[in-house]
């Protein structure tokens, strides 16, 4: 475990910003060169199974010690050595995109689509980046912290409004 982290730190010193020891070892990475790191993890180190890929919005998070707004969190698992590794990539709001890992894992396809759907993070290299859970014409990204929880009437979903109009008048 220690060896692996040290080796990674040495080899990818330009990519890994920080290594945290939380409930699982956590690598905080830069966006540039991230693909190399994750490819190395998958193909050389045996982290073949991508458990989860999700976004987190840190807008107005108390005690935040970084600038960027979003984080994309990967949970990788090595089935042979039973090691779970968490990777985090921080993504600024203005430049809201990230590299897609769909070419490496097919399972990342829908995870990334969902992440785009919910947070608006675009994944470069994704073959088919559309919304998954929300309708195609939905405005806004629901899991962002500035997305209103309670909607005013005029903020109603456009398609629904049209539907109501059609059947009322």
């Amino acid at each position: 475990m220690e060896e692996l982290l040290n080796e990674l730190k040495e080899k990818f010193s330009s990519v890994i910003i920080e290594v945290q020891e939380k409930d699982y070892p956590t690598l905080i990475c830069k966006r540039t060169g991230f693909l190399d790191l994750i490819k190395h993890l998958k193909e050389e180190k045996g982290f073949k199974y991508l458990i989860d890929l999700c976004g987190v919005d840190y807008l107005n998070y108390p005690k935040k010690n970084f600038e960027e707004r979003f984080e994309v969190v990967y949970h990788l698992y090595n089935l042979d050595s039973k090691v779970l590794l968490r990777l985090k990539v921080r993504i600024p709001e203005e430049d809201c995109w990230h590299h897609s890992v769909t070419p490496l894992w097919r399972t990342a396809d829908w995870f990334e689509r969902e992440c785009y759907d919910m947070f608006g993070i675009k994944f470069k290299g994704h073959p088919n980046l559309r919304r998954v859970l929300m309708p195609d014409d939905w405005e806004g990204h629901p899991l962002r912290k500035d997305y209103p929880v309670y909607l005013e009437e005029e903020q109603e979903w456009d398609t629904y409004k049209k539907f109501i109009q059609k059947y009322k008048g």
């Binding site: 939380k22 399972t107 195609d136």
Partner: protein, 409 residues
Amino acid sequence: MATYLEINKKQVNEEKWEEPFYLNMGPQHPSTHGVLRLFLELEGETIVNCTPIIGYLHRGVEKLGENLNYNQAIVLSDRLDYIASAANNTAFALAFEKLMGLEVPRRAKLLRTIVCEMARICNHLLWLATHALDIGAMTVFLYCFRDREWLLNIYEKICGARLTHTYVRVGGVRQDFTQEIIDELYKFTEEFPPRIYDYETLIDVNRIWLKRTKGIAVVPPEDAINLGLTGPCLRGSGIAYDVRKFRPYDAYGEVDFVVPTGKNGDTYDRYRVRMEELRQANSIIRQCLDKLPETEGEPVVAEDAPDLLMPERIKKPEPKPVPKKGVIFRGADVPVVPPGEAFAAIESPKGELSVYVVSDGSSKPWRLRVRTPSFVHISAIPYMTKNHMIADLIAIIGTLDIVLGDSDR
């Protein structure tokens, strides 16, 4: 994929005999197991392309969870996979306990294990019922429901609800078993294995069943991992990955069970794996029941478990001066829940269900992420249905064991 309207336009313009045959299966269809919509491109009866479209049952559990406190979020988990809600409760509770650093009493762990395995049996029975009905064997359907009803009655005695239990909670479980429930469960574990033979007599070696399931939707092991399949779908491909063995939680470390695996990775193997899991789950319940008397009298909730009504904020009382009448607390805020993040995964009946929770110190989670098995499994449908027929598509949806409440969240 072009939208449905665009395709319709295309059909009008193109020459008639070149037009592909599109079939829109769902969201209202008897065997899509919910509001799953599949957009099929057919050549005769063979599927050329299949696009699953989900989101018809999207209730925004993740967003809702950010606006409810930790205990209330458990209630949401019931509605994910409503067939095995005890398993979902456990996943949520495990993540929150890890975040709060709670140690669950052993008795609560055993009770949770029992309830989770009961959920597994419930789920697999429902899966077998619907899968068999999809393939056409309608009697298995009713035999399975007959036995599932028994379990639901036990659930009703345990926690007062049949489907949405809210039984497992942060720091333990809701309440202890009574002797009556334990006796009933003993009776169930004794009578259940012979009933499995009933189902197997009807379909296990039946030539039609074999023809319909063998060699259908073969997933090689590498592809299974790459597609993110978990649970029986992955084990059917021959990989013995089971969260219960690899990262044991609750009382799974102390019980003895086998992780069944298949060889070919086809629908039949996945069916066999699940049937074997039914027997294993039965034996796990039995083992846990045998261990229960050792922990007689222990509390089933951790001492420092949060109250149901979690305070929005806790103020650290200052020792001096003595507060005036009417003002009880003064001083700085203390986090209700330590800020940080936690990740917990369980082997839910359908596959790996993992919860990733980020806390900011308040009583509500900052981010609640649920990775549900059905979501991933539906994304594998296009891969699995390539060059199969419509009738196989039904078998494939059945073998993946999806619940749309689970996938849409």
